[in-house]
Protein backbone atom coordinates (compact mmCIF):
# COMPACT_ATOMS: atom_id res chain seq x y z
CA UNK A 1 0.00 0.00 0.00
CA UNK A 2 1.42 3.32 -1.01
CA UNK A 3 -0.01 6.71 -0.19
CA UNK A 4 -0.70 8.35 -3.50
CA UNK A 5 -2.39 11.50 -2.23
CA UNK A 6 -0.84 12.66 1.04
CA UNK A 7 -3.27 15.60 1.37
CA UNK A 8 -6.22 13.20 1.27
CA UNK A 9 -4.46 10.80 3.62
CA UNK A 10 -4.08 13.43 6.35
CA UNK A 11 -7.43 15.10 5.71
CA UNK A 12 -9.11 11.70 5.97
CA UNK A 13 -7.36 10.92 9.23
CA UNK A 14 -8.31 14.32 10.62
CA UNK A 15 -11.99 13.86 9.80
CA UNK A 16 -12.01 10.30 11.19
CA UNK A 17 -10.42 11.49 14.44
CA UNK A 18 -12.81 14.42 14.87
CA UNK A 19 -15.85 12.32 13.93
CA UNK A 20 -14.96 9.51 16.34
CA UNK A 21 -14.20 12.10 19.01
CA UNK A 22 -17.67 13.61 18.71
CA UNK A 23 -19.31 10.15 18.78
CA UNK A 24 -17.37 9.12 21.90
CA UNK A 25 -18.16 12.31 23.82
CA UNK A 26 -21.80 12.17 22.68
CA UNK A 27 -22.20 8.83 24.49
CA UNK A 28 -22.25 10.81 27.74
CA UNK A 29 -25.57 12.32 26.70
CA UNK A 30 -28.95 10.69 26.55
CA UNK A 31 -29.58 9.19 23.11
CA UNK A 32 -33.35 9.09 23.35
CA UNK A 33 -35.35 7.47 20.56
CA UNK A 34 -36.05 8.48 16.98
CA UNK A 35 -39.39 9.78 18.25
CA UNK A 36 -37.97 11.81 21.10
CA UNK A 37 -34.36 12.52 20.27
CA UNK A 38 -32.10 13.14 23.23
CA UNK A 39 -29.12 15.49 23.17
CA UNK A 40 -26.83 12.64 22.09
CA UNK A 41 -28.78 11.53 19.02
CA UNK A 42 -27.96 14.06 16.29
CA UNK A 43 -24.26 14.46 17.27
CA UNK A 44 -23.81 10.69 17.20
CA UNK A 45 -25.33 10.44 13.71
CA UNK A 46 -23.29 13.39 12.41
CA UNK A 47 -20.08 12.22 14.08
CA UNK A 48 -20.54 8.82 12.48
CA UNK A 49 -21.18 10.46 9.11
CA UNK A 50 -18.03 12.58 9.44
CA UNK A 51 -15.93 9.53 10.32
CA UNK A 52 -17.44 7.68 7.34
CA UNK A 53 -16.63 10.54 4.95
CA UNK A 54 -13.15 10.67 6.45
CA UNK A 55 -12.78 6.97 5.75
CA UNK A 56 -13.72 7.50 2.09
CA UNK A 57 -11.15 10.30 1.75
CA UNK A 58 -8.57 8.19 3.57
CA UNK A 59 -9.28 5.20 1.31
CA UNK A 60 -9.07 7.34 -1.82
CA UNK A 61 -5.62 8.51 -0.88
CA UNK A 62 -4.30 5.03 -1.69
CA UNK A 63 -6.11 4.82 -5.01
CA UNK A 64 -6.12 8.23 -6.67
CA UNK A 65 -2.98 10.23 -7.28
CA UNK A 66 -2.95 13.65 -5.69
CA UNK A 67 -0.62 16.54 -5.02
CA UNK A 68 2.20 16.22 -2.51
CA UNK A 69 1.90 17.91 0.87
CA UNK A 70 2.71 21.59 0.71
CA UNK A 71 5.46 22.89 2.93
CA UNK A 72 4.43 24.24 6.30
CA UNK A 73 6.42 27.28 7.27
CA UNK A 74 5.81 27.29 10.97
CA UNK A 75 7.66 30.46 11.95
CA UNK A 76 5.02 33.05 10.91
CA UNK A 77 2.18 30.85 12.17
CA UNK A 78 3.69 30.48 15.62
CA UNK A 79 4.65 34.14 15.90
CA UNK A 80 1.18 35.32 14.95
CA UNK A 81 -0.40 32.87 17.40
CA UNK A 82 1.88 34.07 20.19
CA UNK A 83 0.88 37.66 19.40
CA UNK A 84 -2.81 36.82 19.56
CA UNK A 85 -2.47 34.87 22.81
CA UNK A 86 -0.47 37.69 24.42
CA UNK A 87 -3.24 40.08 23.45
CA UNK A 88 -5.71 37.76 25.19
CA UNK A 89 -3.53 37.59 28.28
CA UNK A 90 -2.95 41.34 28.53
CA UNK A 91 -6.25 42.96 27.55
CA UNK A 92 -7.88 42.46 30.94
CA UNK A 93 -4.83 42.47 33.16
CA UNK A 94 -2.82 45.41 31.79
CA UNK A 95 -5.36 47.07 29.49
CA UNK A 96 -6.04 47.85 25.84
CA UNK A 97 -2.98 49.97 25.10
CA UNK A 98 -0.34 47.46 26.28
CA UNK A 99 -2.30 44.63 24.62
CA UNK A 100 -2.39 46.33 21.21
CA UNK A 101 1.26 47.40 21.42
CA UNK A 102 2.33 43.86 22.26
CA UNK A 103 0.15 42.27 19.58
CA UNK A 104 1.50 44.54 16.86
CA UNK A 105 5.15 44.40 17.92
CA UNK A 106 5.17 40.62 18.32
CA UNK A 107 3.14 39.64 15.27
CA UNK A 108 5.04 42.00 12.97
CA UNK A 109 8.18 39.94 13.60
CA UNK A 110 6.52 37.18 11.57
CA UNK A 111 7.17 39.03 8.32
CA UNK A 112 10.36 38.53 6.34
CA UNK A 113 10.86 42.24 5.77
CA UNK A 114 10.41 43.16 9.43
CA UNK A 115 11.80 46.53 10.45
CA UNK A 116 11.86 47.97 13.98
CA UNK A 117 11.31 51.64 13.28
CA UNK A 118 8.23 51.46 11.12
CA UNK A 119 6.75 48.73 13.34
CA UNK A 120 7.05 50.89 16.44
CA UNK A 121 5.39 53.79 14.66
CA UNK A 122 2.67 51.42 13.46
CA UNK A 123 2.11 50.01 16.95
CA UNK A 124 1.74 53.46 18.49
CA UNK A 125 -0.53 54.61 15.68
CA UNK A 126 -2.78 51.55 15.96
CA UNK A 127 -2.98 51.82 19.74
CA UNK A 128 -4.03 55.46 19.43
CA UNK A 129 -6.56 54.49 16.75
CA UNK A 130 -7.98 51.70 18.92
CA UNK A 131 -8.41 54.01 21.90
CA UNK A 132 -10.07 56.71 19.81
CA UNK A 133 -12.38 54.46 17.81
CA UNK A 134 -13.26 51.62 20.18
CA UNK A 135 -13.04 53.32 23.57
CA UNK A 136 -14.20 56.86 22.81
CA UNK A 137 -16.01 56.35 19.49
CA UNK A 138 -17.93 53.14 20.11
CA UNK A 139 -17.89 53.49 23.90
CA UNK A 140 -16.75 49.93 24.57
CA UNK A 141 -15.78 49.28 28.17
CA UNK A 142 -12.04 48.58 28.26
CA UNK A 143 -9.39 49.17 30.79
CA UNK A 144 -6.93 51.33 28.84
CA UNK A 145 -3.67 50.97 30.85
CA UNK A 146 -2.57 49.52 34.21
CA UNK A 147 -4.35 51.32 37.03
CA UNK A 148 -6.95 52.87 34.70
Amino acid sequence: MKIKAPKDFWAGLMFIAIGVGFVVVAQNYNMGTALRMGPGYFPTVLGGLLAFLGLIIFGQSFAVKGEPLPTFKLRPVIIVLIGICLFGALIRTLGLIPAVLTLVLVSAVGHQAFRWQSTIVLAIGLAAFAVLVFYYGLGLPYKLYPGH
Binding site: K7, L53, Q60, V80, I84
Partner: protein, 500 residues
Protein backbone atom coordinates in the same frame (compact mmCIF):
# COMPACT_ATOMS: atom_id res chain seq x y z
CA UNK B 1 -49.31 48.02 -6.59
CA UNK B 2 -48.11 46.45 -3.40
CA UNK B 3 -44.52 46.41 -4.62
CA UNK B 4 -44.45 50.17 -4.86
CA UNK B 5 -45.97 50.80 -1.46
CA UNK B 6 -43.50 48.33 -0.01
CA UNK B 7 -40.57 49.95 -1.76
CA UNK B 8 -41.86 53.33 -0.61
CA UNK B 9 -41.81 52.05 2.96
CA UNK B 10 -38.28 50.82 2.41
CA UNK B 11 -37.14 54.08 0.89
CA UNK B 12 -38.65 55.86 3.87
CA UNK B 13 -36.47 53.74 6.16
CA UNK B 14 -33.33 53.83 4.04
CA UNK B 15 -33.45 57.59 3.50
CA UNK B 16 -33.36 58.60 7.13
CA UNK B 17 -30.20 60.52 7.84
CA UNK B 18 -28.84 57.85 10.19
CA UNK B 19 -29.36 54.97 7.82
CA UNK B 20 -27.95 56.86 4.85
CA UNK B 21 -24.89 57.50 6.97
CA UNK B 22 -24.53 53.84 8.01
CA UNK B 23 -24.99 52.75 4.42
CA UNK B 24 -22.33 55.21 3.34
CA UNK B 25 -19.90 54.16 6.05
CA UNK B 26 -20.54 50.50 5.17
CA UNK B 27 -19.89 51.00 1.46
CA UNK B 28 -16.81 53.10 2.19
CA UNK B 29 -15.31 50.66 4.71
CA UNK B 30 -16.22 47.69 2.52
CA UNK B 31 -14.44 49.19 -0.48
CA UNK B 32 -11.51 50.26 1.65
CA UNK B 33 -10.95 46.78 3.05
CA UNK B 34 -11.94 45.05 -0.18
CA UNK B 35 -9.21 46.93 -2.03
CA UNK B 36 -6.58 45.55 0.33
CA UNK B 37 -5.22 42.43 -1.28
CA UNK B 38 -5.73 39.10 0.41
CA UNK B 39 -8.95 40.01 2.15
CA UNK B 40 -12.14 38.67 0.61
CA UNK B 41 -15.70 39.75 1.46
CA UNK B 42 -16.15 37.00 4.06
CA UNK B 43 -13.07 38.05 6.01
CA UNK B 44 -13.99 41.72 5.59
CA UNK B 45 -17.48 41.24 6.97
CA UNK B 46 -16.26 39.04 9.82
CA UNK B 47 -13.69 41.68 10.69
CA UNK B 48 -16.10 44.59 10.61
CA UNK B 49 -19.01 42.83 12.33
CA UNK B 50 -18.04 44.08 15.80
CA UNK B 51 -18.46 47.72 14.82
CA UNK B 52 -22.14 47.01 14.21
CA UNK B 53 -22.67 45.52 17.67
CA UNK B 54 -23.85 48.77 19.17
CA UNK B 55 -26.16 49.71 16.27
CA UNK B 56 -29.91 49.07 16.06
CA UNK B 57 -30.79 46.01 13.89
CA UNK B 58 -31.89 47.88 10.75
CA UNK B 59 -28.82 50.10 10.75
CA UNK B 60 -26.52 47.14 11.41
CA UNK B 61 -27.88 45.10 8.52
CA UNK B 62 -27.86 48.07 6.15
CA UNK B 63 -24.24 48.68 7.05
CA UNK B 64 -23.27 45.02 6.64
CA UNK B 65 -24.96 44.83 3.25
CA UNK B 66 -23.05 47.97 2.28
CA UNK B 67 -19.80 46.41 3.44
CA UNK B 68 -20.58 43.34 1.33
CA UNK B 69 -21.03 45.01 -2.03
CA UNK B 70 -18.41 47.60 -1.21
CA UNK B 71 -15.86 44.85 -0.63
CA UNK B 72 -16.87 43.20 -3.87
CA UNK B 73 -16.32 46.36 -5.78
CA UNK B 74 -13.00 46.86 -4.03
CA UNK B 75 -12.01 43.35 -5.08
CA UNK B 76 -12.71 44.15 -8.72
CA UNK B 77 -10.62 47.30 -8.53
CA UNK B 78 -7.52 45.41 -7.46
CA UNK B 79 -8.26 42.68 -10.00
CA UNK B 80 -8.23 45.21 -12.82
CA UNK B 81 -5.38 47.41 -11.65
CA UNK B 82 -2.82 44.95 -10.32
CA UNK B 83 -4.11 41.53 -11.33
CA UNK B 84 -4.74 40.67 -7.67
CA UNK B 85 -8.34 39.58 -7.28
CA UNK B 86 -9.33 40.54 -3.73
CA UNK B 87 -11.86 37.75 -3.74
CA UNK B 88 -12.71 34.66 -5.75
CA UNK B 89 -15.59 36.27 -7.63
CA UNK B 90 -13.32 38.80 -9.29
CA UNK B 91 -10.82 36.23 -10.53
CA UNK B 92 -12.47 36.33 -13.94
CA UNK B 93 -12.49 40.12 -13.93
CA UNK B 94 -8.73 40.05 -13.68
CA UNK B 95 -8.36 38.07 -16.93
CA UNK B 96 -9.47 40.80 -19.29
CA UNK B 97 -9.48 43.69 -16.83
CA UNK B 98 -5.77 43.53 -16.15
CA UNK B 99 -4.99 43.20 -19.85
CA UNK B 100 -7.04 46.33 -20.47
CA UNK B 101 -5.12 48.12 -17.74
CA UNK B 102 -1.83 47.13 -19.35
CA UNK B 103 -3.12 48.64 -22.58
CA UNK B 104 -3.75 51.91 -20.77
CA UNK B 105 -7.50 51.39 -20.55
CA UNK B 106 -7.84 50.76 -16.81
CA UNK B 107 -10.16 53.75 -16.48
CA UNK B 108 -12.88 52.53 -18.84
CA UNK B 109 -12.61 49.01 -17.38
CA UNK B 110 -13.20 50.38 -13.88
CA UNK B 111 -15.92 52.65 -15.21
CA UNK B 112 -17.83 49.89 -16.97
CA UNK B 113 -17.47 47.66 -13.90
CA UNK B 114 -19.05 50.37 -11.75
CA UNK B 115 -21.77 51.22 -14.22
CA UNK B 116 -22.57 47.57 -14.98
CA UNK B 117 -22.68 46.79 -11.27
CA UNK B 118 -24.99 49.71 -10.66
CA UNK B 119 -27.36 48.65 -13.40
CA UNK B 120 -27.31 45.05 -12.16
CA UNK B 121 -27.90 46.23 -8.62
CA UNK B 122 -30.97 48.23 -9.65
CA UNK B 123 -32.46 45.25 -11.49
CA UNK B 124 -31.64 42.85 -8.66
CA UNK B 125 -33.33 45.16 -6.15
CA UNK B 126 -36.55 44.95 -8.17
CA UNK B 127 -36.12 41.18 -8.54
CA UNK B 128 -35.93 40.83 -4.76
CA UNK B 129 -38.97 43.06 -4.32
CA UNK B 130 -41.01 40.99 -6.79
CA UNK B 131 -39.93 37.45 -5.92
CA UNK B 132 -39.30 37.58 -2.20
CA UNK B 133 -42.92 38.01 -1.02
CA UNK B 134 -44.39 34.99 -2.87
CA UNK B 135 -41.45 32.85 -1.78
CA UNK B 136 -41.94 33.91 1.81
CA UNK B 137 -45.66 33.06 1.52
CA UNK B 138 -44.70 29.61 0.30
CA UNK B 139 -42.17 29.22 3.10
CA UNK B 140 -44.83 30.04 5.68
CA UNK B 141 -46.59 26.81 4.68
CA UNK B 142 -43.43 24.80 5.36
CA UNK B 143 -43.50 22.42 8.28
CA UNK B 144 -40.43 21.08 10.08
CA UNK B 145 -40.02 18.22 7.58
CA UNK B 146 -39.92 20.63 4.64
CA UNK B 147 -37.45 22.87 6.44
CA UNK B 148 -35.16 20.00 7.24
CA UNK B 149 -35.17 18.83 3.63
CA UNK B 150 -34.64 22.38 2.42
CA UNK B 151 -31.54 22.64 4.57
CA UNK B 152 -30.25 19.33 3.28
CA UNK B 153 -30.80 20.58 -0.26
CA UNK B 154 -29.20 23.94 0.48
CA UNK B 155 -26.09 22.41 1.98
CA UNK B 156 -25.81 19.82 -0.78
CA UNK B 157 -26.12 22.48 -3.47
CA UNK B 158 -23.54 24.62 -1.72
CA UNK B 159 -21.13 21.70 -1.68
CA UNK B 160 -21.72 20.72 -5.30
CA UNK B 161 -21.37 24.26 -6.57
CA UNK B 162 -18.35 25.03 -4.45
CA UNK B 163 -15.00 24.40 -6.03
CA UNK B 164 -12.60 21.88 -4.62
CA UNK B 165 -12.99 18.16 -3.97
CA UNK B 166 -16.57 17.10 -3.30
CA UNK B 167 -16.19 14.61 -0.44
CA UNK B 168 -13.93 16.96 1.47
CA UNK B 169 -16.40 19.83 1.10
CA UNK B 170 -19.14 17.52 2.37
CA UNK B 171 -16.98 16.53 5.33
CA UNK B 172 -16.39 20.23 6.08
CA UNK B 173 -20.16 20.83 6.12
CA UNK B 174 -20.66 17.97 8.58
CA UNK B 175 -17.82 19.29 10.73
CA UNK B 176 -19.53 22.68 10.70
CA UNK B 177 -22.85 21.12 11.72
CA UNK B 178 -21.13 19.37 14.63
CA UNK B 179 -19.36 22.53 15.81
CA UNK B 180 -22.72 24.30 15.62
CA UNK B 181 -24.07 21.81 18.16
CA UNK B 182 -21.46 22.69 20.79
CA UNK B 183 -23.23 24.30 23.73
CA UNK B 184 -26.54 23.91 25.48
CA UNK B 185 -29.09 21.66 23.83
CA UNK B 186 -32.24 23.77 23.55
CA UNK B 187 -34.61 20.84 24.15
CA UNK B 188 -33.09 19.22 27.20
CA UNK B 189 -30.92 22.03 28.55
CA UNK B 190 -27.97 19.63 28.62
CA UNK B 191 -24.62 21.30 27.89
CA UNK B 192 -22.78 19.43 25.11
CA UNK B 193 -19.13 19.24 24.07
CA UNK B 194 -18.16 22.27 26.11
CA UNK B 195 -15.85 20.54 28.61
CA UNK B 196 -17.19 22.74 31.42
CA UNK B 197 -15.85 25.90 29.81
CA UNK B 198 -18.32 28.61 30.82
CA UNK B 199 -17.61 30.79 27.77
CA UNK B 200 -19.01 28.19 25.40
CA UNK B 201 -21.71 26.87 27.75
CA UNK B 202 -24.34 28.37 25.47
CA UNK B 203 -22.68 28.07 22.06
CA UNK B 204 -19.54 28.99 20.18
CA UNK B 205 -19.86 32.49 18.84
CA UNK B 206 -19.93 32.40 15.06
CA UNK B 207 -17.88 35.61 14.77
CA UNK B 208 -15.04 33.75 16.48
CA UNK B 209 -15.27 30.88 14.00
CA UNK B 210 -15.52 33.18 11.00
CA UNK B 211 -12.63 35.43 12.03
CA UNK B 212 -10.42 32.47 12.83
CA UNK B 213 -11.18 30.51 9.67
CA UNK B 214 -11.14 33.43 7.28
CA UNK B 215 -9.23 36.27 8.94
CA UNK B 216 -6.39 34.63 10.88
CA UNK B 217 -5.95 31.69 8.52
CA UNK B 218 -5.66 34.05 5.54
CA UNK B 219 -3.05 36.20 7.27
CA UNK B 220 -0.95 33.21 8.18
CA UNK B 221 -1.22 31.82 4.65
CA UNK B 222 -0.22 35.19 3.17
CA UNK B 223 2.80 35.43 5.47
CA UNK B 224 4.10 32.12 4.18
CA UNK B 225 4.33 33.34 0.65
CA UNK B 226 7.32 35.47 -0.05
CA UNK B 227 6.17 38.97 -0.80
CA UNK B 228 6.21 39.88 -4.44
CA UNK B 229 3.79 42.69 -4.45
CA UNK B 230 5.76 45.58 -5.87
CA UNK B 231 3.68 45.27 -9.00
CA UNK B 232 3.55 48.20 -11.32
CA UNK B 233 0.18 49.88 -11.01
CA UNK B 234 -1.25 50.81 -14.34
CA UNK B 235 -2.23 54.37 -15.08
CA UNK B 236 -5.97 54.79 -14.82
CA UNK B 237 -6.61 57.51 -17.37
CA UNK B 238 -10.11 58.66 -18.21
CA UNK B 239 -12.73 56.66 -16.39
CA UNK B 240 -15.85 57.21 -18.43
CA UNK B 241 -16.06 54.53 -21.12
CA UNK B 242 -16.33 55.72 -24.70
CA UNK B 243 -19.52 55.55 -26.73
CA UNK B 244 -18.17 52.51 -28.58
CA UNK B 245 -17.53 50.80 -25.26
CA UNK B 246 -21.14 51.35 -24.26
CA UNK B 247 -22.48 50.06 -27.56
CA UNK B 248 -20.26 47.00 -27.26
CA UNK B 249 -21.02 46.36 -23.62
CA UNK B 250 -24.70 46.88 -23.04
CA UNK B 251 -25.73 43.42 -24.25
CA UNK B 252 -23.07 41.92 -21.97
CA UNK B 253 -24.36 43.94 -19.03
CA UNK B 254 -27.91 42.74 -19.73
CA UNK B 255 -26.85 39.09 -20.07
CA UNK B 256 -24.69 39.29 -16.97
CA UNK B 257 -27.49 40.87 -14.96
CA UNK B 258 -30.02 38.23 -16.01
CA UNK B 259 -27.68 35.32 -15.40
CA UNK B 260 -26.46 36.72 -12.10
CA UNK B 261 -29.97 37.36 -10.81
CA UNK B 262 -30.97 33.75 -11.46
CA UNK B 263 -27.78 32.13 -10.16
CA UNK B 264 -27.77 34.29 -7.04
CA UNK B 265 -31.02 32.76 -5.85
CA UNK B 266 -29.71 29.19 -6.01
CA UNK B 267 -28.38 27.76 -2.80
CA UNK B 268 -24.62 27.67 -3.07
CA UNK B 269 -24.85 30.34 -5.74
CA UNK B 270 -24.16 33.98 -5.27
CA UNK B 271 -21.56 36.16 -6.82
CA UNK B 272 -18.81 33.58 -7.34
CA UNK B 273 -20.80 31.21 -9.52
CA UNK B 274 -22.45 34.15 -11.28
CA UNK B 275 -19.22 35.77 -12.41
CA UNK B 276 -17.65 32.52 -13.64
CA UNK B 277 -20.81 31.58 -15.54
CA UNK B 278 -21.13 35.06 -17.02
CA UNK B 279 -17.58 35.01 -18.35
CA UNK B 280 -18.17 31.66 -20.01
CA UNK B 281 -21.45 32.95 -21.45
CA UNK B 282 -19.79 36.09 -22.78
CA UNK B 283 -17.16 34.04 -24.53
CA UNK B 284 -19.90 32.06 -26.26
CA UNK B 285 -22.40 34.81 -26.99
CA UNK B 286 -20.47 37.99 -27.68
CA UNK B 287 -20.49 39.07 -31.28
CA UNK B 288 -17.11 39.02 -33.02
CA UNK B 289 -14.43 40.22 -33.06
CA UNK B 290 -13.38 38.38 -29.91
CA UNK B 291 -10.43 39.45 -27.93
CA UNK B 292 -11.27 37.50 -24.78
CA UNK B 293 -8.24 36.90 -22.66
CA UNK B 294 -6.41 39.75 -24.35
CA UNK B 295 -8.38 42.67 -23.01
CA UNK B 296 -11.97 42.52 -24.17
CA UNK B 297 -14.04 45.00 -22.19
CA UNK B 298 -17.05 42.68 -22.41
CA UNK B 299 -15.07 40.23 -20.30
CA UNK B 300 -15.25 42.81 -17.52
CA UNK B 301 -18.78 44.12 -18.11
CA UNK B 302 -20.52 40.72 -18.09
CA UNK B 303 -18.97 39.13 -14.99
CA UNK B 304 -19.02 42.37 -12.99
CA UNK B 305 -22.72 42.88 -13.66
CA UNK B 306 -23.40 39.23 -12.89
CA UNK B 307 -21.49 39.18 -9.66
CA UNK B 308 -23.28 42.21 -8.32
CA UNK B 309 -26.69 40.90 -9.36
CA UNK B 310 -25.85 37.53 -7.79
CA UNK B 311 -24.58 39.14 -4.62
CA UNK B 312 -27.90 40.87 -4.18
CA UNK B 313 -30.33 38.16 -5.18
CA UNK B 314 -28.55 35.76 -2.82
CA UNK B 315 -30.35 37.76 -0.13
CA UNK B 316 -33.62 36.21 -1.34
CA UNK B 317 -33.18 32.76 0.26
CA UNK B 318 -31.77 34.47 3.33
CA UNK B 319 -34.66 36.86 3.83
CA UNK B 320 -37.47 34.51 2.85
CA UNK B 321 -36.36 31.04 3.95
CA UNK B 322 -33.71 31.89 6.49
CA UNK B 323 -31.25 29.71 4.58
CA UNK B 324 -27.81 31.11 3.77
CA UNK B 325 -26.66 30.32 0.25
CA UNK B 326 -22.99 31.12 0.79
CA UNK B 327 -20.58 32.01 3.55
CA UNK B 328 -21.30 35.75 3.38
CA UNK B 329 -25.00 35.06 3.84
CA UNK B 330 -24.14 32.76 6.74
CA UNK B 331 -22.47 35.75 8.39
CA UNK B 332 -25.56 37.86 7.70
CA UNK B 333 -27.75 35.24 9.42
CA UNK B 334 -25.35 35.22 12.33
CA UNK B 335 -25.59 39.02 12.54
CA UNK B 336 -29.39 38.86 12.46
CA UNK B 337 -29.45 36.28 15.26
CA UNK B 338 -27.08 38.45 17.30
CA UNK B 339 -29.61 41.25 16.91
CA UNK B 340 -32.43 39.00 18.07
CA UNK B 341 -34.05 38.61 14.66
CA UNK B 342 -35.00 35.09 13.60
CA UNK B 343 -34.26 34.87 9.89
CA UNK B 344 -37.07 33.37 7.85
CA UNK B 345 -40.38 34.15 6.22
CA UNK B 346 -41.67 35.95 9.31
CA UNK B 347 -39.15 38.77 8.90
CA UNK B 348 -41.16 40.25 6.07
CA UNK B 349 -44.44 40.37 7.94
CA UNK B 350 -43.13 41.10 11.41
CA UNK B 351 -40.36 43.53 10.53
CA UNK B 352 -41.38 45.05 7.18
CA UNK B 353 -39.28 48.12 7.98
CA UNK B 354 -36.18 45.96 8.27
CA UNK B 355 -36.92 43.89 5.18
CA UNK B 356 -37.85 46.68 2.79
CA UNK B 357 -35.45 49.14 4.37
CA UNK B 358 -32.59 46.80 3.67
CA UNK B 359 -33.70 46.27 0.07
CA UNK B 360 -34.07 49.97 -0.58
CA UNK B 361 -30.70 50.59 1.01
CA UNK B 362 -29.11 48.17 -1.46
CA UNK B 363 -30.19 50.42 -4.26
CA UNK B 364 -28.94 53.49 -2.41
CA UNK B 365 -25.71 51.68 -1.63
CA UNK B 366 -25.14 50.86 -5.28
CA UNK B 367 -25.66 54.47 -6.22
CA UNK B 368 -23.17 55.48 -3.54
CA UNK B 369 -20.67 52.99 -4.92
CA UNK B 370 -20.71 54.66 -8.31
CA UNK B 371 -20.60 58.16 -6.91
CA UNK B 372 -17.95 57.23 -4.37
CA UNK B 373 -15.66 55.08 -6.44
CA UNK B 374 -15.22 57.01 -9.59
CA UNK B 375 -13.70 60.05 -7.84
CA UNK B 376 -11.99 58.11 -5.06
CA UNK B 377 -10.15 55.66 -7.26
CA UNK B 378 -6.91 57.55 -6.75
CA UNK B 379 -7.04 56.90 -3.02
CA UNK B 380 -7.81 53.20 -3.51
CA UNK B 381 -4.78 52.91 -5.72
CA UNK B 382 -2.59 54.49 -3.11
CA UNK B 383 -3.88 51.97 -0.57
CA UNK B 384 -2.65 49.20 -2.80
CA UNK B 385 0.88 50.33 -2.25
CA UNK B 386 0.70 49.85 1.53
CA UNK B 387 3.10 46.99 2.24
CA UNK B 388 1.64 43.85 3.77
CA UNK B 389 4.03 43.92 6.70
CA UNK B 390 2.21 47.04 7.97
CA UNK B 391 -1.21 45.80 6.95
CA UNK B 392 -1.56 42.50 8.72
CA UNK B 393 -0.80 43.67 12.26
CA UNK B 394 -3.65 46.15 11.79
CA UNK B 395 -5.98 43.38 10.58
CA UNK B 396 -4.95 41.24 13.55
CA UNK B 397 -5.75 44.08 15.90
CA UNK B 398 -9.25 44.44 14.46
CA UNK B 399 -9.84 40.71 14.77
CA UNK B 400 -8.60 40.52 18.36
CA UNK B 401 -10.50 43.57 19.61
CA UNK B 402 -13.56 42.38 17.71
CA UNK B 403 -13.79 38.90 19.21
CA UNK B 404 -12.84 40.14 22.66
CA UNK B 405 -15.66 42.68 22.53
CA UNK B 406 -18.40 40.13 21.83
CA UNK B 407 -18.61 39.15 25.49
CA UNK B 408 -15.51 40.81 26.92
CA UNK B 409 -13.88 37.42 27.41
CA UNK B 410 -10.31 36.63 26.46
CA UNK B 411 -11.37 33.02 25.90
CA UNK B 412 -12.85 34.05 22.54
CA UNK B 413 -9.45 35.44 21.51
CA UNK B 414 -7.78 32.09 22.20
CA UNK B 415 -10.58 30.21 20.48
CA UNK B 416 -10.18 32.41 17.40
CA UNK B 417 -6.48 31.52 17.32
CA UNK B 418 -7.46 27.84 17.46
CA UNK B 419 -9.88 28.22 14.55
CA UNK B 420 -7.13 30.08 12.72
CA UNK B 421 -4.95 26.99 13.04
CA UNK B 422 -7.81 24.77 11.89
CA UNK B 423 -8.41 27.00 8.88
CA UNK B 424 -4.72 27.00 8.03
CA UNK B 425 -4.46 23.21 8.21
CA UNK B 426 -7.66 22.78 6.19
CA UNK B 427 -6.45 25.03 3.39
CA UNK B 428 -3.17 23.11 3.32
CA UNK B 429 -5.10 19.86 3.00
CA UNK B 430 -7.31 21.27 0.22
CA UNK B 431 -10.43 21.54 2.37
CA UNK B 432 -12.36 24.75 1.70
CA UNK B 433 -13.46 26.44 4.94
CA UNK B 434 -16.55 28.12 3.40
CA UNK B 435 -18.86 25.04 3.67
CA UNK B 436 -17.94 24.71 7.33
CA UNK B 437 -19.41 28.09 8.23
CA UNK B 438 -22.65 27.23 6.40
CA UNK B 439 -22.96 24.03 8.41
CA UNK B 440 -22.08 25.85 11.59
CA UNK B 441 -24.97 28.28 11.19
CA UNK B 442 -27.46 25.59 10.14
CA UNK B 443 -26.44 22.89 12.66
CA UNK B 444 -28.72 23.86 15.56
CA UNK B 445 -31.62 24.69 13.23
CA UNK B 446 -31.35 21.35 11.44
CA UNK B 447 -31.37 19.42 14.68
CA UNK B 448 -34.40 21.35 15.88
CA UNK B 449 -36.39 20.75 12.68
CA UNK B 450 -35.39 17.09 12.58
CA UNK B 451 -36.62 16.60 16.12
CA UNK B 452 -39.88 18.38 15.52
CA UNK B 453 -40.54 16.52 12.28
CA UNK B 454 -39.90 13.17 13.94
CA UNK B 455 -42.08 14.08 16.90
CA UNK B 456 -44.95 15.07 14.61
CA UNK B 457 -44.61 11.89 12.57
CA UNK B 458 -44.46 9.77 15.73
CA UNK B 459 -40.95 8.64 14.98
CA UNK B 460 -41.59 7.62 11.39
CA UNK B 461 -38.72 8.79 9.13
CA UNK B 462 -40.93 8.23 6.07
CA UNK B 463 -42.41 11.67 6.72
CA UNK B 464 -39.58 13.26 4.73
CA UNK B 465 -40.58 11.29 1.65
CA UNK B 466 -44.35 11.33 2.13
CA UNK B 467 -44.64 15.11 2.06
CA UNK B 468 -44.37 16.10 -1.61
CA UNK B 469 -42.37 19.32 -1.20
CA UNK B 470 -39.95 17.67 1.18
CA UNK B 471 -39.60 14.64 -1.08
CA UNK B 472 -38.94 16.84 -4.10
CA UNK B 473 -36.20 18.73 -2.29
CA UNK B 474 -34.53 15.58 -1.05
CA UNK B 475 -34.82 14.15 -4.56
CA UNK B 476 -33.02 17.16 -6.04
CA UNK B 477 -30.35 16.88 -3.34
CA UNK B 478 -29.75 13.22 -4.26
CA UNK B 479 -29.67 14.09 -7.96
CA UNK B 480 -27.09 16.80 -7.26
CA UNK B 481 -24.98 14.31 -5.37
CA UNK B 482 -25.23 11.73 -8.12
CA UNK B 483 -24.48 14.33 -10.78
CA UNK B 484 -21.14 15.03 -9.19
CA UNK B 485 -20.31 11.35 -9.38
CA UNK B 486 -20.77 11.29 -13.14
CA UNK B 487 -17.37 11.76 -14.74
CA UNK B 488 -18.74 13.96 -17.54
CA UNK B 489 -20.27 16.49 -15.18
CA UNK B 490 -17.35 16.34 -12.84
CA UNK B 491 -14.93 17.33 -15.54
CA UNK B 492 -17.30 20.08 -16.72
CA UNK B 493 -17.39 21.48 -13.19
CA UNK B 494 -13.66 21.38 -12.97
CA UNK B 495 -13.40 23.08 -16.33
CA UNK B 496 -15.81 25.83 -15.32
CA UNK B 497 -13.70 26.72 -12.33
CA UNK B 498 -10.44 26.42 -14.19
CA UNK B 499 -11.57 28.85 -16.83
CA UNK B 500 -9.59 31.50 -15.07
Amino acid sequence: MELFSNLALGIGVAFTLDNLLYCFVGVLLGTLIGVLPGLGPTATIAMLLPITFTLPPVAALIMLAGIYYGSQYGGSTTAILVNLPGEAASVVTAIDGYKLARQGRAGPALGIAAIGSFFAGCVATVVIGVFAPPLADLALKFGPAEYFSLMVLGLMAAVVLAHGPFVKALAMVVLGLLLGLVGTDVNSGVPRFNFDIPEIAEHIDFVVVAMGLFGIAEIVANLERSEKRDVAIAKVGRILPTKEDFVLCWPSVLRGTALGSVLGILPGGGSLLASFAAYTLEKKMATPPHKFGEGDIRGVAGPESANNAGAQTSFIPLLTLGIPSNSVMALMIGAMILKGIVPGPMVMTERPDLFWGMIASMWVGNLMLVVLNLPLIGIWIRLLTVPYRLLYPAILMFCCIGVYSINNTEFNVYLMALFGVLGYVCVKLECEPAPLILGFILGPMMEEYLRRAMLLSRGDPMVFIEKPISAAMLGIAVLLMLSIALPAIRSKRKEAFQEA
